[in-house]
């Protein structure tokens, strides 16, 4: 068995960060057989985080964010060809150009795409964008450089907030429309959302919360001219960016028999995909944004993470497990980490902030715009978010990993009085937001019952 794993052909579907790092890791592990990487975009693997920052600021061209290789994975690259199906019996990946690529072991890293504006005709207006790909970013950067009178951003999640920040830095007028009570609330809860809203407004963003966009308007030439909001107001703008979160690229697996759905492809902690009966497969692996996997720190709930660092870490574990058997396999247990930079501030998060019932400000303060917010659930630390205090993050990561008591014990010299005062974490139901959380607990939020018993009689 173990010997077989060094032979055969490995196919990776998805040619972005996770796909590239997995292909490199397979070689690092010593795999010498053929590796084929299939990608729907025509571009070689590139890095997405700069697209909403350096690229929109005009500091880097969209086609210059190619990912450096750690080593040449010596792979066959099939780029610009989407996979359209998986034949699990014949062990073949079907491609849009009619070809079929045979595999002995398969890694799925197809990631996500931007959730489009639901009204197709409105979404097709000239000047309406989403931001996920290199081509999206190139088109949007070009429009921003042309100096539109106003930009409308729909959705106050991380992407929407970073876009608004870039617009303001370029001196562009920008309106952010968010259905929920505030920006970033779905990911960080109520208190930091208030800080995020203050940052938006301090930088001149016209922030509208608690509103929905009811229609996008265009002129006779099909050019976007503005939007109607549910409060009866209208926003006149030349550019609209739809930032409604991500959709997982799983449609191509509809007939595959795998446990693939809107929340991703379920896999075990060793990245092996489940089939639709909940039986783990031996030859199909999953990594990156498209996966959902159980995590022991969060009650073994299935996590979906749209995080750069998770794509890298999970790809390495998947690659290792594709060429090792049984007890030699490794679990993917790393603590979720992500970052966002917006309005000149660096926001970093470790753990799962939505997995919480209370928070405390353990260092710094809201007024200083520099703080550590620690999240707890039933008396243990489950997450921490820093604003311009990234050097503290590692300490709190340790607390999360060791299930340390919440609120955290005194230690930091800059510990404020607020550290003694836990307040509700105030994480809303994502259904009421334009922006979903970028960490999704695909089981349930811990403070919410799934069923309500109503005694009758």
């Amino acid at each position: 068995m173990a010997g077989d794993l060094w032979d055969g052909r490995i196919v990776v579907v998805g040619a972005s960060l996770a796909g590239l790092r997995a292909a490199e890791a397979l070689r690092e592990e010593g795999f010498t057989g053929p590796v084929t990487v299939i990608g729907d975009e025509p571009h070689p693997p590139y890095d997405r985080p700069p697209l909403s920052k350096q690229v929109l600021l005009g500091q880097a061209a969209a086609d210059t964010t190619g990912l450096p290789m750690r080593r040449d994975p010596d792979a066959e690259w099939r780029l610009g060809v989407p996979a359209t199906g998986l034949d699990p019996m014949g062990k073949r990946v079907l491609l849009a150009d009619g070809d079929a690529v045979p595999f002995d072991r398969l890694l799925i890293t197809t990631g996500t795409r931007a959730r489009p504006w639901p009204q197709r005709e409105e979404a097709a207006l000239d000047g309406v964008f989403t931001l996920r790909t290199l081509d999206d970013a190139g088109g949007l950067a070009e429009r921003l450089a042309a100096g539109p009178r106003r930009v409308l951003v729909i959705g106050g999640g991380f992407t929407g907030s970073e876009i608004a920040s870039a617009c303001r830095e370029r001196g562009l007028e920008v309106t952010v429309a968010e259905r929920g009570p505030g920006p970033l609330v779905g990911a960080l809860g109520g208190t930091l959302s208030k800080l995020a809203a203050a940052m938006h407004r301090a930088h001149g963003v016209d922030l509208r919360c608690g509103v929905t966009v009811t229609a996008l308007r265009g002129d006779d030439g099909g050019r976007f001219t503005g939007a109607d909001l549910s409060d009866g107001s209208r926003v006149d703008a030349d550019v609209c960016v739809v930032a409604l979160g991500a959709v997982r690229n799983v449609e191509w697996l509809a007939d595959s028999g795998l446990a693939a759905g809107p929340r991703g492809i379920a896999c075990d902690a060793g990245c092996r995909a489940f089939d639709m009966y909940g039986i783990v497969t031996d030859d199909v692996f999953v990594a990156g944004d498209v996966s959902r996997f159980p995590h022991p720190l969060f009650e073994y709930q299935m996590l979906s993470l749209e995080h750069w660092g998770n794509a890298v870490a999970q790809a390495e574990v998947a690659a290792h497990n594709m060429v090792h058997a049984g007890p030699m396999r490794r679990p993917h247990l790393s603590v979720p980490i992500f970052w966002s930079s917006q309005f000149g501030h660096n926001i970093k998060s470790v753990g799962v902030p939505t997995f919480s019932d209370q928070v405390v400000i353990a260092q710094g303060s809201l007024e200083a715009r520099r703080l550590v917010m620690v999240y707890g659930y039933r008396g243990r630390v489950t997450a921490a978010v820093t604003v311009d205090m990234a050097k503290s993050l590692e300490y709190y990561e340790r607390l999360i990993e060791t299930a340390a008591p919440f609120p955290p014990a005194a230690g930091a010299a800059d510990r404020p009085m607020a550290a003694e005062v836990p307040i509700p974490s105030d994480v809303p139901d994502p259904k009421g937001l334009y922006h979903g959380p970028t960490v999704a607990l695909t089981g349930h939020l811990p403070d919410r019952r799934l069923t309500v018993v109503r005694p009758t009689g």
Partner: protein, 71 residues
Amino acid sequence: MRMQIVVDLTRCQGYAQCVFLAPGVFRLHGDEALLYTPAVPGDQVERVRQAAAACPVQAILLGEGVSAGGR
């Protein structure tokens, strides 16, 4: 071959050694948010190499991009 960089910003703690060593490529945005030029200009490669070596958390990866000819 054009050299590319990517910074693992999950690891970056804003020590900003790279900003001192290769200011043409790395810059701080505010107190600790790092922005960088992903495609390294030819005359900056040596400076970026020094920056990568000096990074206290070893977050900078310098390397060639994938040149996928396809098939």
